[in-house]
Symmetry: C2
Amino acid sequence: MSTTIAQVARYAGVSPSTVSYVLTGNRPISEATRTRVEAAIRDLKYRPHAGARSLRSSRTNVIGLVVPFHRPHDVSALPFIGAIAAASYAKGFNVLLLTADRGAAEIDRVVRSAMVDSLIVLQINLHDDRMEVLTDLDRPVALIGIPDDTHGLPCIDFDFHGAAALCVAHLADLGHRSVAYLGQPQLMYDRGTAYVQRALEGAREAAERHDMSWSTQPCEATRAATDRAIRDALVRQPDLTSVMVFNEPALPHVLESLASSGKRIPEDISVVSIANEAALTGTRPAVSGVSIPAEELGTAAAEMVLSAPAGPSPDTEPVLLPPIFVRRDSDMPLGS
Amino acid sequence: MSTTIAQVARYAGVSPSTVSYVLTGNRPISEATRTRVEAAIRDLKYRPHAGARSLRSSRTNVIGLVVPFHRPHDVSALPFIGAIAAASYAKGFNVLLLTADRGAAEIDRVVRSAMVDSLIVLQINLHDDRMEVLTDLDRPVALIGIPDDTHGLPCIDFDFHGAAALCVAHLADLGHRSVAYLGQPQLMYDRGTAYVQRALEGAREAAERHDMSWSTQPCEATRAATDRAIRDALVRQPDLTSVMVFNEPALPHVLESLASSGKRIPEDISVVSIANEAALTGTRPAVSGVSIPAEELGTAAAEMVLSAPAGPSPDTEPVLLPPIFVRRDSDMPLGS
DNA sequence: CTGAAAGCGCTTACAG
DNA sequence: CTGAAAGCGCTTACAG
């Protein structure tokens, strides 16, 4: 089959243990033998057998990544996965893909069979039924998303609550007295996904704080749905002057729905949004708001799990990446 | 640490080999001992150590999945990944994520270190520089995408060539004499991604076959880019009556660009497209065309690799999933 | 600075 | 139908 340490040792004229110590770096080696061993490794294209290594050292150098593959697919997951994979590979770790569909049992199975050293869980619910398994795991874990009770596990997320509040506060600063919040599909709320709820809360609190008239509704990412949502919002808030959208694939449809309701953007209605930067800048007008630093978040999560201790620890504080509001062409001061 | 076979054997009062044979099913076992052993496994929450198992059996039950995480992210990859993961898990296989960025070296490394039994490669180029490594691998491989020369490796893809031809032929059947093809960003062409090229060829050939006036250009998924693309197309083909779009995230923008050029859909311009079904049905008007069966393709690829023999074999024919044209509200007969 | 040896947890011929 | 034993390829005390 494949080359083994024994073969490399024979080829280099040294003992197997010497080869192993060259690989691990756990022992001083003379320059001459190191060179000979390294040449043998190259010549024979030797690669350590991952299974043997994990059996002996009980380390796999594999991170388990739990990804939500729900339908409709949440396309915003892809940059996270890419960033986590890139960051992991850069540090010499591989990524095993787990699907969230199978819940806690899947996590338990993979960890108990010693396939992964640690875990990153990608979409956390406020009340997440995987928390118990994750705390009992005795492996480093990083959660992307903040549950109601972190149980002392390391969590990281973009500050969706703050981002939404920032968007609404910006509208208030421009003099707007009313805002309609168009959110995610009902399904996402039903699942209890943490960031979806936190964004809604952040927006609602900011609207209350600024004494704005407020309405909200879930929304599918189709033109028919945004038409309905905008029409309903205009019925509920006849004097509506601003819309906040937290639904990336629906964003272009929302702009169209407003336009075909006879609302000019930004002259009649100001629009702000939370989405990936490309989605905000790809429309016309380009949409003001906060972009989600998916790459940064994924990279940070990978680094976090690689330095995290196993198991919960009581003083672990959730990490929140701060939102930055960028003004573009979809908003203007009221009545200007 | 974790429970071992020896512990299960002691608990159940049988020999370790008996426990192992219960697990593998490679030996007849009396009903009584099987029951006792299974109870012990449950009580002790035993899971076989994956590394030990792979060391001994040289099988890992892991499929390596090579995914293109290019920027801008190709969001259409997500349903493929999801379907492959689901199908693999359903058959008792786990999925190790590899990034295409590191090319052939990454594949070689992971296979040589015995981390995977087999490989699925997600986005194949016409001239793919990974073919040599893949043929030398001596592991089952399935390519999603068809290279110019398959080297006898099993390939599967949606028939993008046929799908594009079907779309254009439909326009011709409606009496259209001209078509503008809006494709993927230039980057995708530069990479030589097979399906992107094949769709373009299929459309071009069909246009020639039906004697239609024809133009094509790459297109970014922004409103500014679709505006430019539509304007250019109307300059090159002043009597343009139909547009074919193969760029899912650009589709809503294209409809808007046409509208703001004063073109009604479908009265002035018929539009057809290849995209995921949700993208075709989410717009207004809903777009006629061919939807990409991502789930079906991913599932088929997973099944393919699990039944494929190792290495190339000369009589392996590429598998193409057939396109189906569905008429919606974006097209009509010319001059009706 | 180097080597011989034990043992990680499995699977499977071999023997009964 | 069942058990005792070898060995997969590594890492690391132990001995020199």
